[in-house]
């Protein structure tokens, strides 16, 4: 027997099989990471049949990873936080038993009670003029100066009140919002005047790759069984993370994946991405 030729044939055969298997693997992986187009279209059709206005493009096809985000309280070490936010400052109060702290320098004060903080700037207020447009970039720059990392927050403006920028800062993880945590900000045209609320920074992600999340289509289909006839129209669907307000007085919490559905009036509802129920 000509072993040389046999080997060559075998090599070609096995390599062909390998290529075939590789294609199958890549295809199944790609299918797994994306919702099939047909599924999305069918879901949109079902919702429209039930009187809910929704576009195919509104439904995100990219599947989200099943992971918990572990968040550490930014103010669990108040002295360290004060150093970042105020730089050199005086410790006016440091009560470890009652978790109450007060730091001050010439420019600002930082008060921490349990995990709730209040930062107040001592500078003169320079409000925006009546025709002037408020600028979130100023807030972003100032937040960076106060030690907050640029890719870990997003600024949402809510209103312009008496020439001052008023809004909320929401934490981000890999570009996704972490709902349930926020800081309220007031700023003038020069910088931040006050900042208060709770803040956490992400420490690590715990992945559960073996257990995929519920598809957004499954969550949307369940919406048609609601008694309150919500929503009339789906304007946006986002994949975010969520932590309950009950646990904000903690050193460490974990945020779980959710879907946020926004209706035509801007009203949002949160749905647990693992089990599909609405988060009250």
């Amino acid at each position: 027997m000509n072993w040389g030729r046999a080997k060559t044939i075998l090599i070609i055969m096995f390599l062909t099989v390998d290529i075939f298997l590789l294609c199958v693997l890549l295809q199944t992986r790609s299918d797994y990471e994306q919702l099939p187009k047909e599924t999305v279209e069918k879901t949109v059709q079902i919702l429209q049949d039930k009187g809910i206005k929704i576009q195919t493009e509104t439904v995100p096809r990219q599947r989200t990873k099943n992971q918990n985000i572990v968040l550490k309280n930014y103010f669990s070490n108040p002295a360290q936080a004060a150093e970042l936010m105020l730089g050199i400052c005086e410790v006016k109060l440091s009560d470890d038993e009652n978790h109450e702290y007060l730091f001050e320098n010439e420019e600002a004060t930082l008060k921490v009670k349990d995990t709730f903080f209040t930062y107040t700037s001592k500078k003169k207020v320079m409000p925006y003029g009546s025709g002037e447009k408020t600028d979130t970039k100023i807030v972003q720059e100032n937040l960076k100066k106060l030690g907050f990392k640029a890719n870990e927050f997003t600024v949402l403006q809510e209103q312009n009140s008496s020439g001052l920028f008023e809004g909320r800062i929401i934490p981000l993880y890999n570009g996704k919002k972490i709902c349930g945590i926020s800081m309220n900000v007031k700023a003038d045209k020069e910088g931040i005047l006050s900042l208060e609320g709770h803040w956490f920074s992400s420490a690590e992600a715990e992945s559960y790759g073996n257990e995929p999340l519920l598809d957004i289509t499954a969550v949307l289909v369940n919406v048609i069984y609601r008694n309150d006839q919500w929503p009339k129209s789906v304007e946006a669907i986002e994949s975010c993370f969520y932590t309950s307000g009950d646990y904000l007085e903690s050193r460490e919490i974990s945020a779980t994946p959710i879907y946020v559905i926004t209706d035509q009036s801007g009203h949002q509802k949160y749905f647990d991405a693992r089990v599909g129920n609405e988060i009250e």
Binding site: G4, T8, I11, F14, Y32, Y208, S250, E252, T256, R274
Partner: protein, 492 residues
Amino acid sequence: MLKKYLKNLLLFFSVLLMFFLAGQIWFGSYFLPDGYSYITSSIHSHIINPIQKWFDKGHEAGFSQNMKVLLKPNKIVLNHSGNRVMIQNGHPDFEKVRSFSDEFIYKVLTGEYSVRIKETISTDTYHSLLKGKTIYVDYGKDCDFRLFSSTLCDQSSNLLSEDISIVSGYIIGLHDSVMNDVSLYITDKKSNTAYRYIIEMNKNALDAQLQEYLAGASTGNILSYSFELNFHKEQENSASKVLFDPLILLDLMPSEIPSVQMLGTEEEHRSRFEEMTEDVLEVFSINSRTMRRYTDLENARVFVENNATLTMYPNGRLEYQTVQGSRGLDISNSTDRTNYDVSRAMADSVDFVAALCSYMPETYFEHLQISSGLVSQTERQTSYKLSFDYCVNGVPVRWQTEDGYHAAIEMEVTEGYLTSYRHCLWGYKAYEGERQQCLPLLTAADQLVNTLHNGTEPLHIETADYCYVVEEAGAVVPKWYGRVDGVERIFE
């Protein structure tokens, strides 16, 4: 030559690559979401478990073998010719004496020793026995007799079960006041009737054995029963502020017991705390993928599910509490929840505790001892509060918290569902190099009277033993504890 070698290598790697890719496709998360565990769990549930159950035919429903480890006598009192000694678990002779008495009662319960005569005796006669040649085995708590019998001889019913419903101990009498026989004395706590069973056996070997144990175990303490001192009854011409249960043993001299210290260092505890978290979550069937978790300001780790919360405190305390109105964690070994009596509650509870303790150091489980009563208060009772003590040399260690004193494990089970669980995870050991004085019981009772006596009715001290108390600051001190007017408390 080189070409041949490369060809072989290429062939080998292409075959290997084929298996690798096939494996990825089959066992990756794309076709089989749970990977290997889908196959292994199927094999387990459809093949291995049924075979195992077939071999387990002898296992009696509603009883756990773990009971034999956890149901231990609180103390054994040996009396012979004016010498009296009390020994507890941890005493060098305890296991020997316990085996000896266990063997005796096993043979009586199984019928190996035949009962010649059975009769009822008065309470005074029962008490007076303890002044003679006796071995008094005291479990310190009321126990359903069927459960007691199952624990000792694997049979729930026998000759004695028609007389006895609730038992807390028994006496082996070598010579009673009149007849020169070996007898077994048991009081049924339900009807308050004391029974004597005269046994057909040779007493001489028992007599010699008892004397040998006494000689070896002598401690020099002066022990008197409350009934010997008449502390159990009031006298007409003199009011009492306190009455003791007749069988409470009073040591008239202050005694010394070894100091106790925590096993391991703070650092070791912290790292074991971390290691145990996943195992504890598994035992409590907490789904780490759906639970919410956080660490509070006191560094306690809290895991929240829809119907329950599990908290692990840095001081080693573990608490599980279900939400009001929800059933709780299913710990039952059976799906049938009718007639959920104390035996079934105990079987489910000890198996659960054993499962949790399997993640702890080996010796931890051996230190545990059931401390709560094992009795159904009513016929329809389905909810039970059970507790287990961690003991060092037979002396329980209790923990002081803001809401009182607690045993190592306290749990509540309702129809096979665990509704609350509290466990202090750290173990303790005796530190022989240092001993602490334990006040005489009368001195401790003086403190109790100062605290509780209302000036009219006397206090009834139903049980009294000493324990180690781990105070909130961390110090471990010996104190007396017991049941006073139906309430368990520390004497202070």
